[in-house]
Symmetry: C2
Subunit: 405 residues, 2 copies
């Protein structure tokens, strides 16, 4: 059993964090929140970040990655906008990112490299700096713990609902919170940093340990989800630790305890992203067991999670397990197809590589569920893994055939 | 200029080849051709094959790959069925493949390992051997050069049109033919052997050279197309050379001449497959130039060709070049996004990593074409490549959400 419980709250629930959001006119629809500011009152706030591995990384990624490194894992604020990715915007785009951070640092009275920036939205269009600068003073003025709740909406693009979760746990009589928000509905793919997520905690964690714990949690959550196989230019996970709970996390038991909560939080947000995948109607968990090693388990899970043929079969509740065995077959993993078992939930579709003689209507009923699990047992060894994906529907095409315009 | 011309004809046009097809009841729809036989009259027929790399390779792949090797590149016939892939059918499936070959060899009076077998269709359902055996005698009886034309229809599954091409060339006063047919509309992905294709020629080519030339041609054609990123369990390209034209192909100029024709034929068939991609409305050529090396050129082209976001943007004629730069970015290739140019046909969308300031209506008009080219210049080096892909539409979902049932 986990020592962490889900609780009501928002990004401002951990002690020390305030936030605010505004409609700055970056998105076409006026009145839509598209600019947010998150700030930590604690001078000694630690920060960790995991960034996209995309070689065409956007200006805010290039900027924040470099500043966070220069500040040795200390940062107190992030300015985030939606509606424009500030990607493929060249030297001018980097200038906009830096000017945004500089302006926010001045207003917040912190060193410039303690302000990070994130952007999400359309690629290749200049980000209008003046709309950000015009709105920063009001944002700073409205900073409050409860206003931080609105950040979950300010970062959305094609998402259909805001994604937020808060966990709490007691440690030596003191209460510690971990809170997070995320966005991302397309361009989701299980490689390093697949969307935007912001996490706050009032635990005290030194920067190197914070970075290590974040990397591990991201690997067990955001790097195990797939909507469409595209890895974005912008995606970033940032974690800020104010330390104001008075609970210090160091190597050993405390590290395991905090890491568990952080991973649970990240998995919870990751599953919300998949559930909100562009056009998705179903949340599909892919469990692979019996793999020869962890890398092979991942290869199989990833291939099945990304296969358009598997994802369309799930959309149609078609128990076409041949497509699953086929995807495993081209994954690059070592296994013997004649040993593989495949179940949807508890129902066997394939046993030892052959049709399990299942009842078609019963299989369809399992696949009709809004949340379902595909279980693949390779019977090769003892390694296992879990991935999350969604079905592939008409709505994905509708959303993406005309996103830009 | 190529020395090869497209001519009217079919798989039976090269001297020595006869074929026939029948409706054997393997497909649900009666009267639909689903069984075919191709036979070479020449005892010294050479044969070459390229097979799927999928680890869950189907019984006919396992069988034919092994027999072709055992016979050191000699084979005279292939039995092919559609409607059932004989994949994930275990030991029984291998028995069906072997029994099919044995029965055909007896009727045709050739050694058993001179008969290959291929299957395509649904995975995981036993292939009814008796329907094949019942129809083989009549098939053998109806073998003729002109009846070979019907094989192009007998191998189809979700394809909407038969794919066939014939090239001819003169060599020292003698006329040589290369003819081919192909099928494949889903599970198409640029890795070794991505569909079914059968090629006949009346050139005389020794087995080792024939295999080398086929591998090179497949690599420049069928391995450079993408419909949905899935690599099938069954896919196979077989090439038979009867030698009856009297023109012998050996290393040097003749090899280059014949290889050129073979590659042109394979590219022609590969493009037909993409044009008939499940739900596809457009044939998209991806040209990558200026890559640091050939592997990087391929990485970029493959990532762009497979990106669901790029493919849906093309479906919607949306000049969203940011998705192209993004796909290149996660391809693993080394390049500097700030140097990249992107054109649709001749129109610049992105110049040196930035928006080229194009006219939106003009860009949409270019993207509205049924055949269009995306040109990416990385400005990193001198390597280049070409891939072919299609757009990603509603119809792909419709076809695949209910293929099995």
């Amino acid at each position: 059993m986990s020592e962490w419980q889900k609780v009501e709250g928002h990004l401002g629930s951990p002690l020390g964090f305030r936030g605010a959001a505004a409609a700055a006119g970056i998105k076409k629809a006026a009145e839509t929140l598209d600019l947010g500011l998150l700030f930590s009152d604690a001078e000694e706030t630690s920060a960790a970040g995991v960034f996209t591995t995309n070689r065409a990384a956007a200006a805010p990624v290039v900027y924040s990655r470099s500043e966070l490194r220069a500040a040795r894992g200390h940062a107190r604020a992030v300015v985030v906008n939606s509606g424009n990715a500030n990607a493929a915007t060249g030297r001018a785009g980097l200038g906009v990112a830096a000017a945004t951070a500089r302006a926010a640092a001045k207003i917040l009275d912190v060193p410039r490299n303690h302000v990070l920036v994130c952007s999400t939205g359309v690629i290749g269009v200049p980000l209008p700096l003046e709309r950000i600068l015009d709105n920063l003073p009001a944002l700073a003025k409205h900073l409050s713990p409860s206003n931080a709740a609105s950040l979950a909406r300010a970062i959305l693009t094609t998402d259909t609902f805001p994604k937020s979760a808060v966990l709490a746990s007691e440690r030596r009589g003191r209460r510690v919170h971990v809170a997070g928000i995320a966005k991302g509905a397309g361009m989701i793919h299980p490689r390093m940093a697949t969307m935007l997520a912001f996490i706050t905690t009032d635990a005290a964690v030194a920067p190197p340990l914070l970075q290590k714990l974040l990397a591990a949690s991201v690997n067990a959550s955001f790097n195990r989800i797939s909507v469409d196989g595209d890895t974005s230019t912008n995606d970033t996970v940032l974690l800020f630790a104010s330390g104001l709970s008075g609970v210090r996390v160091t190597a050993g038991a405390a590290e395991r305890w905090f890491g568990e909560g952080l991973t649970e939080l990240c998995q919870s947000l990751a599953k919300m992203i998949v559930r909100d995948g562009e056009g998705a109607h179903k949340l599909v968990t892919i469990e692979v067991t019996g793999a020869a090693d962890a890398a092979d388990a991942d290869r199989v899970a990833r291939a099945v999670a990304n296969s358009p043929l598997v994802k369309t079969a799930i959309a149609g509740s078609d128990p076409n397990w041949g497509r699953i065995i086929c995807a495993a077959g081209y994954s690059g993993a070592r296994f013997d197809a004649a040993k593989m078992d495949i179940r949807v939930n508890e129902l066997f579709l394939c046993r030892r590589g052959l049709d399990a003689g299942f009842d078609d209507a019963a299989a369809r009923a399992e696949l009709d569920r809004k949340e379902l699990t595909l279980r693949l047992d390779l019977h090769q060894g003892k390694a296992s893994t879990v991935f999350w994906t969604c079905d592939f529907t008409h709505d994905y095409i509708d959303i993406n055939a005309s996103y830009r315009t």
